[in-house]
C-alpha cells in the first residue's frame, strides 16, 4: 500500500482522519490551538501557524469562530468540522472519514458534509458510512464490504445500486430509495407491573436544567443545558421521540426524566406523585429501563447473558427463556458467554436495549438506540421498542433517525437553549501566574517549615500566608469588585484536609511527647506551613498551560508532556464516566446504602472500573487521531503558544521567599 508513491506515514498528515465520535480526537482546549496541533508536530515555526489555521477554519466554514473559543463549547457538528480543519491544515493527499455524521442530527450532518465537499474539494476522500444516501451525489465510486470483510461490490454508485440494490438491501445495507424494513414483532414477556392502556406512568413538568462546570479554584460556570416548555406525559402503550440538534439537550432530558439529573425548576413525578429521584433503586428499576448514549457504561455484568438477566435477578423476576430469546432476535446468541465490554459498538447498543427491557419495566428511555445498526439489526431494535409498546409499555427515545421517528406516537422537538450573555467573572491575581511559579510558591515555604524554630515563628509564617491568600485571591486590579466568595469557599474546602492532617499530627505528637502542648503545637503548625501554600496556589494552575510550560521552560520531552496535557483536558469526562456508571446501576436496581458496606464497595468498584474502561478507550482512540496528525514523529515539534515567565511569576516566587526570610531572621 502506498500514498503518493510512498509508504503510509512517510509524510506526517498525508492521510487525514476524522473519527465517528465528535471530540474523540480533540487535543487542545481552544479552537485555534487544536487546528495547530498537526502544525506543531511537523515543526512549523509558530509565527507562520495563524495563517494556516485561519485557512483551515475557513475551508470548513468555522472562520466566524474566535480562535480562543473553547473546544468544549462547540456543538457536535462544529466539533466534527474542527477535526476536519485539523486534518486539512496538514494538506493531506488522502482524507479518511469514519462515519463522520453518525452521531449528528440531519441539519448538523449537512454542515459537516458541506465542509467535506467544499473544504476537501479535489482531495481523494474515502467515507465509511452505514447511511450512504446523502453522500451519493458526491461519490465517484462505491465499495461494498461483505460480512466476511471481503469486497463484494466495487463500481460507480449508479451502476452498483442499479444492478445489486435489492440484493444489498436484503443483506442489511441501507440502500437509498429502499424503505426501512418492518420492525420485528418480538415476544418480550409480561410487564413487571401491567398498567391499563394510556395510564400515566410519569409526568415530566416543564423543566429547566443547569449544567455546572466546576473549576479547580472553586469558581464555576453555570450554563443552561435544557429548557422544555410543555409537560411530557410518559404513558402506557405510547412511544415518544425527542428530536433536535446534537447537543441541544435530548440526552439531558432523558436523564432528567429518569431522575438522574435534578432540574433547577420543574419536577419529574410518578403517577402517585412521588419524585422519581427519591425512589429507592429497587423501585426505579421496575418503572424505568435505561439505554444511555454511551451504552458501554451501562453494561455491568461479566457475560452477555448475565447482563440481560441482571435487573430481573435483583428484582426476583429473572426469566432465562425470555433473555435467551432476546439475544437470539438481536443476533447476539452466539456471544452469550462473551464479556459485554468486548462487543462492538453496535452489539453493545443492542445488548443495552435487551437488558433494559428484559425485566419488563413500565417505560424504557432509549438514547439513540438505532445508531450503527444495519437493516436487519435495525428491525430488531425498533421491533423491541415497538413490541414493548404493544405489551403496554411506554417508550421515550432521543433520536435523529428519521425512520424511527416515523414509528412513534408523539414527536417532541428539543431546542438548544439560547446562549446566556457571558457572565465574565473577574480573574484572580494568582491566575496571572504560570504553573511553574505557582508550584514554586507552593514548595518554597516548606524550607520555612523545616527551619522554623517553634510554633511562634510558624504562626507568623502562617499569618504571612494568610496575607498572601488575601492578595492572591483578590480580583485582578481594574476588573471590578475585590474578590469572589466562591474562591474562598474553594480555599476552605482545600484547607480542610490539611487542617485534619495538622490535628492528627499534633495529637500523635502530644501522645508521644509526654503530653507537651508546645511540642505538639509546633508539629501541627509545621505541617500547616507545608500544606497551606499548596491549598492557596495549586488550584490556580491552568491545566491547559501545564504542557506548554513543562515542555518549553523545563524542556521536558515533548511527547509525554503533550500526552499529559491531553489527558488533563479530559478530567471532567472522567468524572462524567464515573457518574454514568452510577446512573446505570441505579436504574438496574443496584442500590447503594451506607448501611450495607458491600453495596458501597460494589458501587465504588463498578464506578472506578467503568471510569478506567472509558479512559483506556479514549486513550486508544485519541492515539489514532493524534498519530494521524503527525504526533508519532513529533519529537522535534514546535509550540504554537509561548510559555512566558511574567512579572507576576517573579512576584509570587518572591512573596513565597518572604516566609523563609522570616524564619531565617528569627533564627539569627
Amino acid at each position: 500500500m502506498t500514498v503518493d508513491g510512498r509508504a503510509p506515514g512517510t509524510r506526517p498528515g498525508a492521510v487525514g482522519l476524522v473519527l465517528q465520535e465528535p471530540g474523540s480526537g480533540t487535543v487542545a482546549a481552544t479552537v485555534a490551538r487544536d487546528v495547530a496541533f498537526g502544525l506543531e508536530n511537523i515543526g512549523l515555526p509558530a509565527d507562520t501557524m495563524p495563517a494556516h489555521v485561519e485557512a483551515a477554519l475557513t475551508a470548513v466554514g468555522l472562520d466566524h469562530l474566535d480562535g480562543d473559543t473553547p473546544t468544549g463549547a462547540l456543538s457536535g457538528g462544529q466539533t466534527q468540522r474542527l477535526a476536519l480543519a485539523g486534518a486539512l491544515a496538514l494538506r493531506p493527499t488522502l482524507l479518511l472519514l469514519d462515519e463522520p455524521t453518525a452521531m449528528l442530527d440531519e441539519a448538523s450532518a449537512a454542515t459537516v458534509r458541506d465542509a467535506v465537499v467544499h473544504g476537501a474539494a479535489g482531495l481523494t476522500t474515502v467515507v465509511v458510512e452505514h447511511r450512504i444516501e446523502p453522500w451519493l451525489e458526491h461519490a465517484d465510486r462505491i465499495i461494498v464490504l461483505g460480512r466476511d470483510g471481503r469486497i463484494s461490490h466495487d463500481g460507480t454508485p449508479v451502476q452498483v445500486l442499479a444492478d445489486h440494490g435489492d440484493e444489498l438491501a436484503a443483506d442489511g445495507i441501507w440502500v437509498p430509495g429502499v424503505a426501512a424494513p418492518e420492525p420485528l414483532a418480538i415476544d418480550l414477556g409480561a410487564l413487571a407491573r401491567p398498567a391499563g392502556p394510556g395510564a400515566g406512568l410519569l409526568t415530566c413538568e416543564p423543566v429547566r436544567v443547569e449544567r455546572r462546570r466546576n473549576h479547580l479554584d472553586g469558581s464555576s460556570d453555570v450554563s443552561t443545558a435544557l429548557i422544555t416548555e410543555a409537560p411530557l406525559e410518559v404513558a402506557a402503550g405510547r412511544a415518544t421521540a425527542l428530536v433536535g440538534p446534537s447537543g441541544g439537550g435530548k440526552s439531558t432530558w432523558l436523564a432528567t426524566i429518569a431522575g438522574l439529573i435534578p432540574p433547577s425548576s420543574g419536577r419529574v413525578v410518578t403517577s402517585d406523585g412521588r419524585a422519581v429521584a427519591e425512589l429507592p433503586a429497587t423501585e426505579v428499576a421496575p418503572l424505568l429501563g435505561w439505554v444511555p448514549q454511551w451504552s458501554s457504561s451501562a453494561l455491568l455484568s461479566r457475560t452477555v447473558l448475565d447482563e440481560v438477566l441482571l435487573t430481573g435477578r435483583t428484582l426476583g423476576t429473572a426469566d432465562e427463556g425470555v433473555a435467551r430469546h432476546l439475544l437470539d432476535v438481536l443476533g447476539l446468541a452466539h456471544l452469550e458467554r462473551a464479556d459485554p465490554q468486548t462487543l462492538s459498538g453496535g452489539e453493545q447498543r443492542r445488548l443495552a436495549v435487551a437488558a433494559a427491557l428484559a425485566h419488563g419495566p413500565g417505560a424504557v428511555l432509549a438514547d439513540e438506540p438505532t445508531v450503527g445498526q444495519d437493516r436487519g439489526t435495525w428491525a430488531a431494535v425498533t421491533g423491541l421498542l415497538l413490541s414493548h409498546r404493544a405489551r403496554g409499555g411506554a417508550v421515550v427515545t432521543a433520536t435523529h433517525d428519521p425512520d424511527l421517528v416515523e414509528l412513534v406516537d408523539e414527536v417532541r422537538y428539543v431546542r438548544t437553549p439560547p446562549p446566556q450573555p457571558e457572565r465574565a467573572t473577574p480573574p484572580a491575581v494568582l491566575s496571572a501566574c504560570g504553573p511553574l511559579s505557582l508550584v514554586a510558591a507552593a514548595t518554597i515555604p516548606m524550607v520555612a517549615a523545616v527551619l522554623s524554630p517553634g510554633w511562634r515563628v510558624s504562626l507568623v509564617v502562617l499569618a504571612l500566608l494568610a496575607v498572601g491568600a488575601v492578595v492572591g485571591l483578590a480580583n485582578r486590579p481594574g476588573t471590578g469588585g475585590w474578590t469572589l466568595p466562591g474562591r474562598w469557599r474553594g480555599l476552605a474546602i482545600r484547607l480542610l484536609p490539611g487542617a485534619v492532617g495538622g490535628l492528627s499530627v499534633g495529637w500523635s505528637t502530644w501522645l508521644l511527647g509526654s503530653h507537651d502542648v508546645e511540642t505538639a503545637l509546633s508539629a501541627a503548625l509545621r505541617l500547616l506551613v507545608i500544606v497551606v501554600p499548596s491549598a492557596i496556589t495549586l488550584a490556580f494552575i491552568d491545566p491547559d498551560d501545564l504542557a506548554d510550560h513543562l515542555g518549553q521552560r523545563l524542556r521536558l520531552p515533548a511527547r509525554p508532556v503533550v500526552a499529559l496535557g491531553a489527558a488533563l483536558q479530559r478530567v471532567q469526562s472522567f468524572g462524567a464516566a464515573w457518574s454514568e456508571v452510577g446512573w446505570a446501576r441505579r436504574l438496574r436496581g443496584q442500590g447503594v446504602s451506607w448501611r450495607q458496606p458491600r453495596s458501597v464497595v460494589a458501587h465504588l468498584w463498578a464506578s472506578t472500573f467503568g471510569m478506567l474502561l472509558r479512559s483506556l478507550g479514549s486513550a486508544a482512540t485519541l492515539a489514532v487521531a493524534m498519530d494521524a496528525r503527525g504526533f508519532a514523529s513529533g519529537g522535534r515539534r514546535t509550540w504554537a503558544e509561548a510559555a512566558p515567565w511574567r512579572l507576576a511569576d517573579t512576584l509570587v516566587v518572591l512573596a513565597s521567599l518572604s516566609t523563609v526570610l522570616v524564619v531565617v531572621i528569627a533564627r539569627l
Binding site: 464479556d339 507545608i530 499548596s534 488550584a539 500526552a563 489527558a567 472500573f609 483506556l616
Partner: protein, 214 residues
C-alpha cells in the same frame, strides 16, 4: 498490533512490549497519562476517606495507618503491568500524585515527592526482572517495593516525632498493605481490564486473546 517476541511455546507465556523496549508508542504515552489522571481522581476521592474514617482508626496506634497506604501504590503497579516499558510505573504513579494534588488534598505539593518515592519503588520491581516478567509475583513485589522509600520520606517529613518502635512497626504494615492492595489488587484489576478487552493494544490484552485462541 501483535506482540510476538518469543515463540508461542505455551498458552501462559508472557507477552512483552512491541518493538524497542524504550520505543514508547503514542498509545503507550496516552494510556499512562489517562490511567494516571484517572487514578489521580480516585486518589483524591480516597484521600477524603483517608482523612475521616481511616484517621480515626489510627488515633490509638498511629502506625496502623500503614495498613491503608497500599491504595496509594496502585497506579504504579497497574501502569507497569499494562505498558511494560521502563518508566511506565513511575510515570503513572507520579501523574496520579500530581493530579490528586491539583485537586487539593491534604499533602499539597509534597504529594509529588510521595509519588516519586512510590513510583521509583514500583519501577524497581519491574527493572529487577529486566521488564521481562509481569506475573502476580512481580506485581506483589512492585506493591511491596513501593513502600520503603515512601517510609523513609514519611518517617523524616511527617512522623519525625514518632518513637523508633512506632517507625519500625510502620514499615512492615506499609509493605503488607502494598502487597495486598496494590500488588494483588493491581494485578486483579489489570486482569479484569484485559478480560474486558480494554487492554487489547497492550501485552496483557494480547495474553488474554492468545489464551482464548488456544
Amino acid at each position: 498490533m501483535t506482540a510476538t517476541k518469543t515463540p508461542a511455546a505455551s498458552s501462559a507465556r508472557t507477552v512483552l512490549a512491541t518493538g524497542q523496549l524504550m520505543g514508547w508508542r503514542t498509545i503507550d504515552l496516552l494510556t499512562i497519562a489517562f490511567l494516571g489522571v484517572a487514578f489521580g481522581v480516585a486518589y483524591w476521592g480516597y484521600g477524603l476517606i483517608y482523612n475521616g474514617p481511616i484517621s480515626a482508626l489510627g488515633l490509638a496506634f498511629q502506625p496502623l495507618f500503614g495498613l491503608f497506604v497500599g491504595f496509594w501504590f496502585i497506579a504504579g503497579v497497574v501502569g507497569g503491568l499494562v505498558v511494560r516499558r521502563p518508566g511506565a510505573a513511575l510515570a503513572c504513579e507520579l501523574i496520579a500524585a500530581i493530579v490528586s494534588a491539583l485537586f487539593g488534598n491534604q499533602w499539597g505539593v509534597t504529594t509529588v515527592v510521595s509519588g516519586l518515592a512510590q513510583g521509583i519503588g514500583a519501577e524497581l520491581a519491574f527493572a529487577i526482572f529486566a521488564y521481562k516478567a509481569f506475573g502476580p509475583a512481580v506485581a506483589v513485589l512492585a506493591g511491596a517495593l513501593s513502600a520503603p522509600l515512601e517510609w523513609i520520606y514519611e518517617a523524616y517529613a511527617y512522623f519525625a516525632d514518632w518513637t523508633w518502635a512506632w517507625k519500625l512497626a510502620y514499615l512492615p504494615l506499609m509493605v503488607i498493605s502494598g502487597i495486598v492492595i496494590a500488588g494483588v489488587g493491581g494485578w486483579l484489576l489489570t486482569r479484569a481490564l484485559a478480560r474486558a478487552g480494554a487492554l487489547n493494544p497492550f501485552p496483557p490484552g494480547q495474553e488474554v486473546l492468545e489464551r482464548r485462541a488456544v
